[in-house]
């Protein structure tokens, strides 16, 4: 007789081969067709909110692996919060204004005013940004990221632009915005201030000169050195590489603690730092001797004469002076240096700023009016020579700031700018205390941002650009103060911008607003720093959409560079607007590097492009890599690493496939209640329950790599190497509807229900695919569900308690070790060709007595006999924590049952079924075998 039809082999259509690159796009199409995002949101509408607020990537260029990591991490968080029982909306965003888009548009259309006027230029920028967003959006969606992709936020949306202006109005209203006159990085080619992030450093050759400034009051100087009388022929010496800043010299600074020497030379007395006297004299080609020394503090306000203008330069104290090089005295032009600016501010509120935005001196500047500063250096040096003030002149190569796009040197230049003052309305203090209301993950994030906020200068929020949101103010031409009705007007302008975009401000006619005052006030045409724009997304998006709850949002999640960027600007604007941080938690992830820890670059050839990974391995493999990698450090990726990840992927997939295959013919109504399940099955449910607790805790604390490790180990070891192996006999040979077989299927069903949920935030495509093969599913995707609730720990009086289970696993291990040599010698093919004697202590034997008859099923051998006799020499002993068990194997001599492959003595005892054992006869024609344990 052929017994094939009496065996229930695993059957499933779920494909072994993942074919992710081909299959994933189909699933995306289905998600789109069924509007999966909104269906889930609707389903979760009554749940508590968890909002991850998206940080907007810049809308320029195709996405790279760093973008992919960021969006996948966010998606894992959002999906795990859904499963944790929250309504977790996700609205992706894009940062759309700013320089890089202007540069891209300039390349095609020329600068503003060449081919296009400002309005047309802005329209072109808008079109360009929209195009870029479309490209990036497709790539992000392809990663399997679930969100409101058809209705994202874009900082160039009219509503968002209006939101920026409203936010600014509130910050102005709360007294944080001040008009300042400060040196900022200035590019003459951009004719604009540059942010720190827009600066590159490069080498430049400059003139390096030493210049003498004559002391005005010889008596005071002598007094500073404790000398009698008056020193009338004294000068001090400064060293500079920017002769063009000398017309703006207002002071010379000394260090209060430094020691200065008065040196007698042929051209009179010179003041130099004592430690630099020798090197200076050498440079000047002079000889001389030190007459007296004093500290810098005593020299304060021994003022000097400007070398070519008829005015006084103050001798001031400043911390930024060092005696490392030069002369130990620093020429200060406060308009052209940040430190100079701060040093001079303490002595004078005046800032001389003779250089225009076009790099020329003001026309009314004596001697050099109208000259370009880069042409002026030789003229200034010649003049100094003529006046006898030039002590030395040479050239000097050094690293200076360059504009990142023009690659030309920038200067510091004092320009009228708008600032968010860190201290005017105690923003710094409030922001620092707000930092401690936030949970920073990893925790060093707190120190980093605290240090930055503590030390940062005022935030310059104005730019002189075309493609940006305006600072819509009218200011008094003379006093540079905003019009008294500014608060009210900004809100009115915001309403106009909401209708017509930022052009509404640029097109606005000042006469309509100012009336008779039109000559007194001017319209500001500055735009806002783009970091301000994205920074206020908490207001322009979270507070403005009705489906994102309230501030603070639950989490911001970006790369670790954003402590300086978005986390920073969001914190400052949040505190400035509401007095509180806009977020509860901030999670940062490291940068992506190659396998050697090197930065990725085209030239190094180590770039892993997400688009390429989608085509070769699929999104789920990339997602699994993201989850498997500890994001707190740098994240290494290479083709080799991804290949290893895809092997792990296959392990998880095949485990799920085998579970599905065993569930063939199983429907929920066939499920066995927990208290009627076989102990081994019940034990597995307990194991799964314990693991689910770990998985939930790991998702709650964003430790995704832990989940990967635990779930992978569960598939490979607990299921693959143990449970599923043991269950084969029961699944294949017992009657289809028998309690024992249904019990095993029920355990597998519960485990698969839970397992699919565990992996759903990470392996989103695969989880959905598994789900569609589930015996029955309440909803179309696991993401509609919450963590599986049908798992439970084993009861306290459970027959297979932890100690018994440990003993059984120890016996199993000993058995496998014992069979290994027989298998190697080809004495047996499978374990079923063998029998074992299990040598135990009396106590252990007693503990296992109830399950002794079924032990052979757990060990997968044809006979397992428990004995308390001493183990023979050569038995395999396994010891654990002082307990040892011994297993002695032998090849079975009994006949082999053709149906179940066990070697048993009763094969052939039934006359109608000469080839099979008694157990199989019972399963084929009888009432069916009963199992009590395994």
């Amino acid at each position: 007789m052929d017994y094939k039809n009496t065996i229930s082999l695993p059957v499933t259509d779920f494909p072994m081969k993942a074919d992710l690159p081909q299959r994933e796009p189909n699933r995306l199409a289905e998600w789109a067709a069924s509007d999966r995002y909104h269906a889930i949101q609707k389903h979760a509408a009554d749940r508590p909110m968890f909002v991850l607020h998206d940080g907007p990537p810049y809308a320029n260029g195709d996405i790279h692996i760093g973008h992919a990591v960021n969006k996948i991490l966010k998606d894992i968080v959002v999906k795990s919060r859904l499963l944790a029982g929250f309504r977790a909306p996700y609205v992706p965003g894009w940062d759309c204004h700013g320089l890089p888009i202007e540069v891209a548009v300039e390349k095609k259309h020329g600068k503003v005013g060449q081919k296009l006027d400002a309005r047309a230029f802005r329209a072109e920028c808008r079109r360009y940004a929209a195009e870029q967003i479309d490209r990036q959006r497709e790539d992000f969606k392809r990663l399997g990221v679930l969100g409101e992709w058809e209705n994202p936020y874009r900082t160039m949306d009219y509503a968002y632009e209006a939101g920026i202006v409203r936010s600014l109005a509130r910050i102005v209203d709360r007294g944080h915005v001040v008009r300042g006159f400060k040196p900022v990085h200035w590019c003459f080619d951009c004719q604009s201030a540059l942010a720190e992030a827009e600066i590159e450093y490069g080498n430049k050759r400059d003139p390096a000169i030493d210049v003498a400034f004559k002391f005005i009051d010889g008596k005071k100087l002598a007094g500073a050195f404790g000398l009698e009388g008056s020193i009338d022929d004294a000068s001090l010496a400064i060293w500079t590489t920017t002769p063009w800043t000398l017309p703006a010299n207002q002071a010379v600074a000394v260090g209060a603690e430094l020691v200065y020497a008065l040196v007698k030379t042929a051209r009179g007395h010179l003041l130099l730092a004592e430690s630099l006297v020798e090197s200076c004299l050498l440079r000047f080609g002079m000889s001389g001797e030190i007459v007296a020394t004093t500290t810098g503090a005593r020299l304060e306000r021994c003022d000097v004469q400007h070398p070519f203008y008829d005015r006084v330069s103050l001798l001031i104290l400043s911390d930024h002076v060092s005696a490392a090089d030069g002369t130990g005295l620093v020429h200060c032009a406060p308009a052209y240096g940040v430190e100079d600016f701060h040093a001079v501010k303490r002595y004078s509120s005046e800032v001389l700023n003779p250089v225009g935005g076009d790099s020329r001196y003001a026309a009314d500047l004596p001697l050099f009016g109208g000259q370009r500063i880069k042409d002026a250096n030789p003229h200034i040096i010649a003049l100094l020579q003529e006046r006898g003030a030039l002590l030395s002149s040479t050239e000097f190569d050094h690293s200076v700031a360059h504009c990142w796009r023009h690659k030309t040197p920038t200067i510091f230049r004092a320009t009228p700018q708008w600032f968010i003052s860190m201290d005017a309305a105690s923003l710094r203090k409030d922001a620092l205390s707000a930092i401690d209301t936030v949970r920073w993950i990893p925790d060093w994030g707190r120190e980093r941002i605290y240090g930055m906020i503590e030390n940062r200068p005022d935030w310059c929020i104005s730019r002189q650009r075309t493609w940006g949101v305006p600072i819509p103010l009218f200011v008094d031409r003379e006093r540079q103060l905003p019009h008294p009705r500014t608060g009210e007007w900004m809100l009115a302008v915001a309403d106009k911008i909401e209708q017509g975009g930022i052009d509404a401000w640029f097109d606005l006619d000042a006469n309509d607003w100012l009336g008779a005052d039109v000559d007194r006030y001017e319209k500001v045409t500055d735009t806002l720093d783009v970091w301000f724009e994205s920074g206020v997304s908490h207001s322009a998006v979270v507070c403005s959409r009705d489906n994102l709850g309230e501030l603070p949002v639950d989490i911001y999640l970006e790369g670790s560079d954003q402590h300086r960027g978005w986390f920073h600007s969001a914190l400052l604007t949040g505190v400035a607007m509401y007095g509180a941080a806009p977020y509860r938690q901030v999670l940062t992830h490291g940068f992506t590097v190659d396998a050697q820890g090197k930065k990725m670059s085209k030239s190094a050839g180590n770039v892993v492009a997400p688009q390429q990974v989608m085509k070769s391995l699929g999104a789920d493999v990339l997602r699994l890599w993201v989850a498997a990698t500890d994001y707190r450090a740098e994240m290494s990726v290479s083709d080799e690493i991804l290949k290893r990840v895809s092997e792990s992927y296959r392990r998880i997939r095949n485990t799920c496939r085998y579970l599905l295959a065993n569930l063939n013919g199983f429907e929920p109504q066939n499920a066995v209640a927990l208290d009627q399940m076989l102990p081994l099955d019940r034990y597995l449910i307990g194991q799964a329950h314990a693991l689910q607790q770990k998985v939930i805790a790991a998702y709650d604390s964003y430790q995704f790599h832990q989940i990967y490790q635990d779930v992978h180990a569960f598939c490979a070891i607990e299921l693959g190497a143990f449970y599923l192996d043991v269950l084969k006999d029961r699944m294949y040979t017992l009657q289809r509807d028998s309690l024992a077989r249904r019990s095993g299927q029920t355990a597998m069903w519960h485990v698969l229900e839970a397992l699919t949920r565990w992996i759903a935030p990470i392996l989103s495509f695969t989880a959905d695919e598994i789900w569609s093969y589930m015996p029955a599913r309440e909803h179309p995707s696991p993401l509609f569900h919450t963590w599986y609730e049908q798992l439970a720990p084993v009861p306290s009086d459970f027959g297979l308690n932890a100690a018994t289970m440990a003993l059984l696993m120890q016996i199993r291990e000993a058995t496998q070790l014992a069979l290994e040599p027989l298998r190697r010698d080809k004495a047996i093919g499978s374990g079923l060709d063998a029998e074992v004697d299990v040598h135990l202590s009396a106590l252990q034997a007693d503990a296992l007595r109830p399950m002794a008859n079924e032990l052979k099923f757990l060990l997968i051998v044809s006979r397992a006999t428990i004995t308390t006799e001493t183990a023979p020499a050569g038995a395999t002993v396994v010891e654990r924590e002082g307990i040892s068990v011994a297993v002695a194997p032998r090849v079975s001599v009994a006949a082999k049952c053709v149906r179940c492959w066990h070697h048993v003595d009763d094969v052939g005892t039934h006359p109608d079924h000469p080839e099979i054992c008694g157990r199989c006869v019972e399963n084929v024609v009888g009432e069916g075998e009963v199992r009590a344990w395994f």
Partner: protein, 168 residues
Amino acid sequence: MTARLASYAWLWLSAVMIALDQWTKAIAVEHLIYAQPVPVLPGLNWTLIHNYGGAFSFLSHQPGWQKWFFLIVASAVTLGLMEWLRRTPRSNWILCLPLSLLIGGAIGNLIDRASLGYVIDFVDVYYQTHHWPVFNVADSCVTVGIVWLICYEIFSKEARTERQNGKP
């Protein structure tokens, strides 16, 4: 016109069955936890199940389009049955009754499929460990209707054959 549509009066029975079906489904959804059986009698549980496929989970894991497939097939069958009913004299209850039951059952499940994408089943009949696939009131209508029609066909054929053979 009225005369030709007279047998549509039987659609009241369909409507009653649809109402009964939808009402019992609503109760099941309200009171049952998904896939957790509630024992009623020996051999009968209430077990709430969502059925995405046809009978025996046919096509149940095909993404998306199986919904449309079943919707179209069910709609076509319903229209066909309505036409059959229209051509049947109103007084021929022995044919009108199963037809209206079939129409009611088909529409009952069609409503689920169109609005939810799956069919709600909750009647779980079993003997020992052997379970019948879980079903609902609409399925019962369809089953009764089909069995009735098959019997009708067989018996009326026999009747015809007997007549043709000249027996009384």
